[in-house]
Point group: C2
Chain length 384, copies 2
């Protein structure tokens, strides 16, 4: 637990997230809503996770779905990542085409339609692993691979409390045997402790569940004669909490940018938030509110029972983003009154959940000390 | 009110939406999640709205943000639309580049950053109108246009009960005078009765509010010496409900595809739903549920207090899509049990709100009688 950053309101005074008043020279270059990424904070997050994984002696395989940026994937590899995780074969193709050689699609991939050929092609091109949680899928995957099922690694997914996908840990052995008999390369087991997203000790409890479930699943493989080379856990809240025990690999995603829910549950500090949404106030015609140009088609509509509204309005705690339409973010002025930002002002938002927000954007605007450094495309946006 | 389609469970037996079991030849061509559009239903919706507008003697200016497809915009123009509505200058640029000559950005456009030059360029290229609800914006728009403010039409937005953007109807005259003095071409007034999205008589009440507010605003312009050429109302639920009275133009969007909320509030019939999401069952490992490959990065996370879950699972009323993650749609099996679709099955979903779903997709797969006709790109996806 010692590697866990202390939850605090601490801010990095040089970071974009600490600049409620963006410089006019920056604003003049923004086609809002725009996603701003503080390069120094990004680098620090990537380095810190790389270092922590090294110190713990686990492999780090960050999740690509958070940023979908080839440049950021390459930074992660430069700072110790052993490969990338992604959610779709479309993302895997982008990574493979960018030269990433070891890719895990941590998803129960079904090789239907054009995915069948893409799977075969990727398994030829790179070291490809996919998730597996049914015999039906194992049969389909082996069928898709044809004469070379061993070119595909599979990791048996186990449900360790998230109750989304994955077999019970005790059932992992039988599924591993089924897959191995089909000639698939059964590399090990994995889980996602999605129930880590909660207040209090939810992250700690989920991390324990991950470790316990993975240990049981790994034992189930061994007792069926399959040696697990990979025992993979993952989520940003749990990534550095797991007892090293059986875990050989962690797959955090959101840590590169941080977001409002990660701050709320204590997985990162305010100072670690690298991404904000620059948004223009377009209307103050209706009393008691202001309207931003960031709606659901920019932010998504992500909420948590323990978060108020759809995003933090940086520097304006009394301005609460309580209602979203496609292109309108309607913020209520709780006492902010006439001092609140006027029409034409550009504010920054910290989204509740950064992954859907990035998937809705065309590019990331990289900044340093409040100036634009570069623009990186969201390469794998909307790829299935 | 006579033009309003009767709310009913009526189905078109030839439509894609009525085919819970898609033909294997179709499924083999789908990279799910995929957006299927029934061409016949689409054509029928476009023709019907064109005909109804003609019969009522109002101009039809459909909203581009629903489909973001140049091909569909062109169909709308072929069937009587006098121009297109859109929400962003990025969408307007796509339309202008496709040869659409009359475009209304029904949004309080702020000409910041690169939008300043784009606004000037579009105002030169096409007949461009934008929304206006503040003197600050009027000043900025006139400033952006420089020596030719009259090349930009503005419509004063009035709040007729949606309480999002727009001045009070009585205040429209003063704003119109301010804009006219700056040399902007004040073409009239507009509103969006967003409070039409509700059960019972919400659409009818909103339609009355739109008409009353627009009549008051138009009178306010006249009494200030500005003759409104355009009096524009809009939303799919209210489009055909307004007393013609002062209204010269309607701006419905969602009617091209329909969606679950439009069916629920009686704005379209089941038979009018042209768009469904084809999604593969990827997991049934956790008892009592199935997991689809359509999550928030495909469907968005749109809800209504009066709709259960995030989408209808076509043909499976007992399978309820109650939980979404980025790439997982978790559906609970309420009594569907073992008969429910197994891993590898492809089901169809009717999204609650179709606009964000389309914005998340790369293409629309056009179908007729259950076969693929064509694929159209979502041209203006994610453009701000």
């Amino acid at each position: 637990m010692e590697n866990r950053p202390a939850p605090s309101g601490e801010r990095d005074p040089a970071s974009i997230r600490s600049m409620p008043d963006l410089a006019p020279t920056l604003v003049d270059q923004l086609d809002t809503p725009s996603l701003l990424v503080d390069r120094d904070v990004l680098d620090r997050n990537i380095e810190a996770m790389g270092r922590q994984a090294r110190e713990r002696g686990v492999d780090l395989r960050p999740h690509f779905k958070t940023h979908k940026s080839v440049q950021i994937a390459q930074l992660q590899l430069q700072h110790g990542a052993t490969g990338l995780t992604c959610a779709t074969l479309g993302e895997a193709r982008v990574l493979a085409d960018a030269g990433v050689e070891d890719i895990f699609v941590a998803y129960p991939v079904w090789p239907g339609g054009p995915k069948k050929q893409l799977l075969r092609q990727l398994a030829d091109q790179v070291t490809l692993s996919v998730g597996l949680d049914s015999t039906v899928s194992a049969d389909a995957l082996a069928g898709a691979l044809g004469a070379t099922p061993g070119s595909l690694r599979v990791l048996v997914e186990v449900d360790t409390g998230g109750h989304r996908t994955g077999v019970r840990p005790a059932d992992a052995g039988a599924l591993a045997v089924h897959a191995a008999r089909l000639g698939l390369d059964v590399a090990g087991v994995f889980t996602h402790g999605g129930h880590s997203y909660g207040l209090g000790d939810a992250p700690q409890r989920a991390a324990r569940d991950e470790v316990d479930g993975l240990a049981e699943a790994a034992a189930a493989l061994r007792s069926n004669g399959v040696e697990p080379r990979v025992v993979s856990a993952g989520s940003t809240p749990t990534a550095m909490l797991s007892a090293t025990g059986p875990v050989t690999e962690e797959r955090p995603g959101t840590y590169v940018f941080g977001d409002r829910q990660q701050v709320a549950i204590g997985s990162c500090r305010d100072a670690d938030v690298a991404l904000t949404v620059a948004s223009t106030v377009v209307s103050r015609a209706v009393p008691g509110q202001l309207v931003l140009d960031a709606g659901t088609k920019c932010l998504g509509r992500e909420t948590q029972p323990w978060l108020e509204g759809y995003a933090e309005v940086v520097g304006w705690p009394s301005v609460r983003l309580e209602r979203l339409n496609d292109h309108h973010g309607v913020a209520t002025l709780h006492g902010a009154g006439d001092d609140a930002p006027g029409v034409g002002s550009v504010v920054q938002l910290v989204p509740n959940h950064v992954c859907p927000t990035v998937n809705l954007a065309q590019e990331l605007v990289l900044t340093r000390a409040g100036e634009i450094l570069d623009r990186w495309p969201v390469d794998a946006r909307a790829l299935v």
